[in-house]
């Protein structure tokens, strides 16, 4: 059985089903009704579930539980310093780190927090917070958000993070210091004469290939890119896609040449191209892309899939792929995208999808 954690505008839905059966999953639980769930994961090291919950009244926080059908507990420490202007607005991402108990959280306004105790208490990464350019950082349409955290398998010192819209940041010392990794990214939304050296770079999603960790893939705000030098520089790989705009991306952890994206019409529209819901996958590091659409709506389907709303499990021929749309529809594939089925219809607008 596969358990999906679907964060929505109206709470967390825990879905359970068998991808082999290719039929809708059962709603096992709904948590945080009335609250926005931005993101939720299960930490496989501890079996602890962590959910980023934003209350319209009481603000954002990470909640934890060992049983997603039961009670959740609030965690502490996710807050900006009292003497600064910034107030925490949303928690976009939670990522297990490469040391026991280590977790990261990416938030808006853009900042990185870490936890050394499995997510119960959190501490601000001061090196990122103290960047002298911070007061000039520009938000994307979704806010000024740190959403992508790429750890390096087996090495807690090496990190890459993606911020909308402040580009890629790299650390070689576990987050004690940071530098940019933006060479090759082309922000077409900025006049050509103003692009040189800009850090107004709208990364939408970024993932590292675990079997070849110097390789990263990125969905940019107009463009899909690959880095073969650990994020120092980026190569465009969007040729063959019906559109180079999109938000989410996943990879097959067993195949460092793989990436999967969901193209959407430009930033002015942000819906699936030609009314067809299609995942595009590459198995040759972006040289070619294939449309993976069998079983997905191919007529008059104008969906928006947000940046955290695409998740994966397993690898190779049995790679599970799952994504949800702001329409409340969730789709899945148990065979690497060859065939798709409806996981659930008419949930609340989907913010995030992860396999537990």
């Amino acid at each position: 059985m596969t358990e999906l954690l679907v964060g929505t505008k109206k709470g967390l839905f825990v879905l359970e089903g068998d991808p082999g059966a290719e039929k809708p999953f059962e709603v096992k639980a709904r948590a945080f009704p009335g609250n926005v769930v931005e993101f939720a994961i299960r930490d496989p090291r501890t079996d602890r579930y962590l959910a980023s919950v934003t209350s319209g009244h009481f603000g954002p926080r990470v909640m934890v539980t060992d049983d997603p059908t039961g009670e959740w507990e609030p965690t502490t420490g996710l807050a900006y310093p009292e003497d600064d202007d910034w107030t925490l607005e949303r928690i976009w991402s939670i990522k297990p780190g490469e040391a026991d108990g280590l977790l990261y959280a990416g938030v808006a306004p853009a900042g990185l927090f870490s936890s050394a105790d499995g997510g119960m208490t959190w501490e601000l990464n001061r090196a990122m917070f103290d960047q002298p350019t911070r007061k000039d950082w520009q938000p994307g349409a979704g806010g000024l958000c740190l959403h992508s955290i790429a750890t390096w398998p087996g090495d807690p010192m090496k990190l890459a993070i993606g911020i909308s819209a402040v580009g890629v940041w790299l650390s070689q010392d576990g987050g004690e210091s940071w530098r940019h990794g933006n060479e090759g990214l082309v922000p077409r939304y900025i006049p050509e004469e103003a692009r040189e050296g800009t850090i107004d770079l709208c990364v939408h999603n970024m993932h590292r290939a675990p079997l070849r960790p110097e390789r990263l893939f990125m969905q940019f705000h107009g463009g899909v890119y690959r880095s073969d030098d650990a994020g120092e520089s980026w190569i465009p790989i969007m040729s063959g896609l019906p559109a180079d705009f999109g938000f989410p991306m996943v990879i097959d952890p067993a195949d460092p040449d793989s990436a999967f994206v969901i193209p959407m019409i430009s930033d002015g529209d942000r819906v699936t191209v030609d009314g067809k819901v299609r995942v595009f996958g590459t198995r040759d590091a972006g040289s070619t892309w294939s449309s993976l659409d069998a079983g997905l709506p191919q007529e008059d389907a104008y969906l928006t899939i947000l940046r955290q709303a695409f998740g994966a499990e397993g690898e190779g021929p049995e790679l599970g792929l799952y994504f949800g749309a702001t329409s409340g529809d969730v789709f899945g594939s148990g065979d690497g995208g060859a065939n798709w089925f409806s996981v659930h219809e008419r949930l609340a607008p989907v913010n995030s999808v992860r396999v537990a």
Partner: protein
């Protein structure tokens, strides 16, 4: 001591207490005292700058106030979500 009256979910974070008695000369001080008595409530009513969150209402003896309002020892303070908040 002021009496702070709480509803869900704040009541649950305060150990199920609907009423809590707390010292303080201002609403901000009383709410900070509430956090000290019940640490699970930290960040829910006051933000990281000690301000009452925009979509939380605090009523002091029947009058809607913010964190800087002066509190008499016999005051009653209600803390509850505002109708302007929530998620559409």
């Amino acid at each position: 001591m002021a009496t702070v009256k709480l509803r869900a979910p704040l009541k649950d974070l305060a150990g199920g207490n609907r009423e809590v008695s707390i010292d303080g000369e201002s609403v901000g001080e009383v709410l900070k005292g509430l956090e000290q008595q019940h640490p699970r409530i930290v960040g829910w009513v006051l933000d990281e700058h000690g301000r009452v969150r925009p979509h939380v209402n605090v009523f002091l003896d029947g009058e809607r106030v913010r964190e800087d309002a002066a509190v008499a020892p016999s005051a009653t303070i209600h803390v509850l979500p505002s109708i302007s908040g929530g998620n559409r």
